[in-house]
Amino acid sequence: MGRAEPVHVGPLLERLHEVEVGLADDYRLTGERHAVEHDVFHVSHTLAKQCVAHANRLRPMLERYAGGPGDEASEEPSGLADALAGARRKLSEALGRREVPGLLLLRDLTNLFVAVAECELLWTVAGQCAQALRDAELLSLVTICHEETTTQLRWVKTRVKEAAPQVLTVG
C-alpha cells in the first residue's frame, strides 16, 4: 500500500520472542526447583511448552518484520540446562521433603510474576501494532498468545495467593 516500513515492530517482536524463550526457561526452572509442589511442577512444565509454542508461532512474523525467523525454540532444555534441571529436582526432593521451602516458592513465583507481566505487556503492544498495521494474521496470533499469557499471569497470582497466607502467617 506504499506505506513506510514499520521499523520498530521488528525489534518489538524480536524482544517478544526472546522473552517467551526466557520465560520457558523460567517455568522449567521453577518447576524443577519446586518439584515437590506437585501442581507447580506439572503446570510449570505445561506452561514452558506453551511459551515455546508462542515463540515458534512468532517466527513467520519475525521473517515479515525483522528480516529473519530467529532461532527455533525447543521444548527440551539444552544438555547442560537439562543436567542442571535434573540436579535441581533432586535437590528439591532432598530439601523440600524436610525443610520449610515456602518462602523460596513465594520468591520464585514473585519473580515469575514479573517476567510474565512483561511478556503480557509486550503482547498487548503487539496487538495494538497488529491493528495499526491492519495485519490480520499477526492479530489472530497475538489474540491467542495474549489470552494464554493473561491466563499464565492469573495462574501465578492464584498460586501465590494460595501459598502466601499459610507460609507467612503459620510458617
Binding site: G96, E99, G102, Q152, R154, W155, V170
Partner: protein, 784 residues
Amino acid sequence: MAKDRIGDVWGERTPHGAGTEWPARVDTFLQPGVSEDEVRWVHSTCILCSNGCGMDVAVRDGRMVGVRGQEFDRVNHGRLGPKGLFGWQANRSSDRLTRPLVRRNGDLVETDWDTALDIVVRRTRELLEEAGAGALGFYNTGQLFLEEYYTLSVVAKAGLGTPHLDGNTRLCTATADEALKETFGCDGDPASYSDIEHCDTLFLVGHNVAETQTVLWMRMLDRLHGPDRPRLVVVDPRTTEVAREADVHIALKKGTNVAVLNGILHELLHNGWVDRTWVDAHTVGFDGVATIAERYPPERAGEIAEVDPAVIREAARVIGSAERLLSTCLQGVYQSNQATAAACQVNNINLVRGMIGKPGAGILQMNGQPTAQNTRECGANGDMPGFRNWQNDSHMEELARLWNVDVSVIPRWSPPTHIMQMLRYVETGSIRFLWVIGTNPAVSLPELGRVRSLLAKEDLFLVVSDAFPTETTMLADVVLPAALWGEKTGTFTNADRTVHLSEQAIEPPGEARSDLAILLDYARRMGFADRDGRPLPPWDDPESAFEAWKECSRGRPCDYTGITYERLRGGGIQWPCTEEHPEGTERLYVDGRFPTEPEECEEYGKDFVTGAQNTEAEYRAMNPAGRAVLKAADYVPSHEEPDDEYPLALNTGRTVYHWHTRTKTGRAPQLQEAAPDVWVEVSRADASANGIGEGDLVRVESRRGAVEAPARLVEGRQGAVFLPFHYGSWDTSRDGDPASGSRAANELTMTIWDPASKQPLLKAGAVRITKVGDAPEARRRGEG
C-alpha cells in the same frame, strides 16, 4: 428375595417402555433362620454406593438381622444391590473399635473418652497458641450424615477458623462439583434418575454404572431390554458390562477424554445438530467452544485417542439425532487427565443440543459416595455452606450472621485447602494436627509410600475417628471409636438431589459414638461460642442440626426448608424443597435460567489447564446473567505417558462387590468371598508378549512402588492394565505396619491432581509387568 445376588448382580429384569413407570421389585435379605414376622423394620437408606436406595433395616433383639428395599422410594422402587443386601453385616463384626485408644510408648492402648478428648483438646490449644488455626487440618469422608458435615463445617470454619477442611470426596466428586459450578454457576445436578424412563439416548462417559451403582444400572437395563430401547453411547477404555450393552462404544486410550469429546462436538457443529436459538438465549461462550472444537475433526481426535474416526462420527450421529439425551459421567472422567475440562465438555454437548431441564434430557455428574452431595452442600469438602462463594463478601457475611460470629473468623482469604495441599503442609511441618474422620488415606490416596511417611511424621498429631482398625489408625496418636450407619440418625442426599432419612436401628457397640456426638463434645470442651456467648454450634442432636441446616440453605439453590424428618419417613424428597414447592423439584433449569448471576453463583470460574482463578470482575466481564457458561479446553497429553521403561498405562477402579478400602465389605462374608483378593487385568496381547498366563502371579511396578497380583486376562485395549483399588493391608499386614503386605493400587499411582477441581488423578501413570510365579492349579482353571 435375594437368590444368588452375588452371581446375578442385577437380578431379574422388569422391562418397560419409554415414559412408563419403572416397575417395582422388592429385594430382601434376612439372615438364615429369621422370618419377617419376628423383626421390627426401621426406616433407613443404603449407604454403600452413591445411588441412595430407600431401605428398611430388620432388627431382632437389638441386632440387625437383614434389609429390604423400599417399594415406594423414588430411587430404587424396592431394589437393592449386592453391597446393600449384604454389607450391613459389617456393623456387628467382632473387631469393631469400641473404646478410645491413645498412643503410649509407641503402642495404642485403650482409654476412656475424657482422657482421649482432653488430649485432643490440649494439642489443639497448644497449636492455636503457637501457630494459629492454620496449623490444624481436618480430612473427612463422603459417608457421614448431613448433620455431621454441617457440624464439622461450623467447628472448623467458625469455631477454629481454619481453612484446612477437606473430604475424601476430593477423590470422588470434586470434579462433578467443579464442573457443575463452572457450567451452571452452582453445584446441583440438573437431571433426575426418573429421566432414565423418558430418555431416548444415554451417553455414559467414564461411568461403569453396572459396577459402581448397580441399582441405577438395573433401571437403565430395564429400559435397554424393553420396548423403544434408548440408544446407548459409552466412552470407556475397558470393555465393561456397560460397554457390552452399548450401541456405540468408544474404547479410547486412557487420558484422552477431551480429544474424543471435542471430536464429538466438532461433528455436532459441522452437521448442524445444534439448537442455535436455545444456545443464543440461554448460554454464553459458544464461539470459544466452537473455535476449540474446530481443531478436532474425528480424524485428529481418533488419532489422539487411538480409535477409528468412524466410531466418533457414529457416536456424534446418535447424540446429534437424540430428542431426549441423558448424559452421565463418573470416575473415568473425574480421575483422568483433564478431568474438569472433560466433564464440562459433556455439559457443553447437552447444552448445544438444548438437552436440559426436560423429561429425559439432562445431565448427571454422578457422585462417587453416598453422602458426597451433603459435604458439598455443607462445606466440609472445600466449599462453603449453602453453595456460597468464598470470594463473595456478602455470602460470607450471611454465614457470619447465621452463626452469630464475626465475619473475620471465617477463613475466606484464600480457597479452602484441598487434601493434597494439606498433605504438603504436613510435609513442610506447617500443619501439625490432622483429624481424619471416617476415611482411610493410608490406602486411598495416591503414592502411598509418601502418604504413609507423612502420616507417620513425628511432628504430626494424628487423630482418627473410625469404626474399624485400619491402615490409617495404625499410624494414629488418638483413635476415636465411631458409630456406623444404622447406629445413628441423620439425612443424606444422592446425586439426583434426593434427600433421605436414615434412622438409628440399633445401639453402637461398646463406647462407640456418632461423629455428631464426638464433634459436639469436642466443640464444648474447646468452649467454642458465638458473639453472645452461646455454645457454638448451638444444636445438640441430629434433628436440631438439620433444622439449623435448613436455615443455612434458605434461599440458596439447595433449599431444604420444606423438608422435615417426619416428611422424609414417607420416602426421599428432591431439593430444592420449599413451602412454595413442598413436593421438591424433579429437574433443575426447566426455564433455561441458571444461577450464574454474580450475586448468586458459587464460583467465578477457573482455567481448566492451570487452575487460574477468576476474580469477580473477570466473571462479571463475561456477563453470564442467568445463562449457562460454555467453556472448553484443548487436549493436553497426560503428564506420564507410557515409555520404554514403563510401557503400560495404569488404570485403577472399583469392583462391584467392594466399597473403598473394604473396611465394611471385607467384613461381609458373601462380599468378601466374592472378591477376596486383588488381581490385575491384563489384555491377552500384553499377557502373551510378557509370557503371562491366566492366574500367574504378576509384579506390577511404577516409578513409585510395586504390588503383586494374579493376572486376569481380558479382552480389551493392548497397552493398559487395570487394578482394583480396594485392597490394602489391614487383613494382611504384619506387626501393625501398613506398608507390609500392601496390595494397594495406590502404591503405584502418582501425585498429580486436576488443576481446576484438585481431584487426584488416580487413573494416571505408567507401569511395567513381570511374571513372578506360576498360577496355582485352581486359579488357572478359573476357580480362584
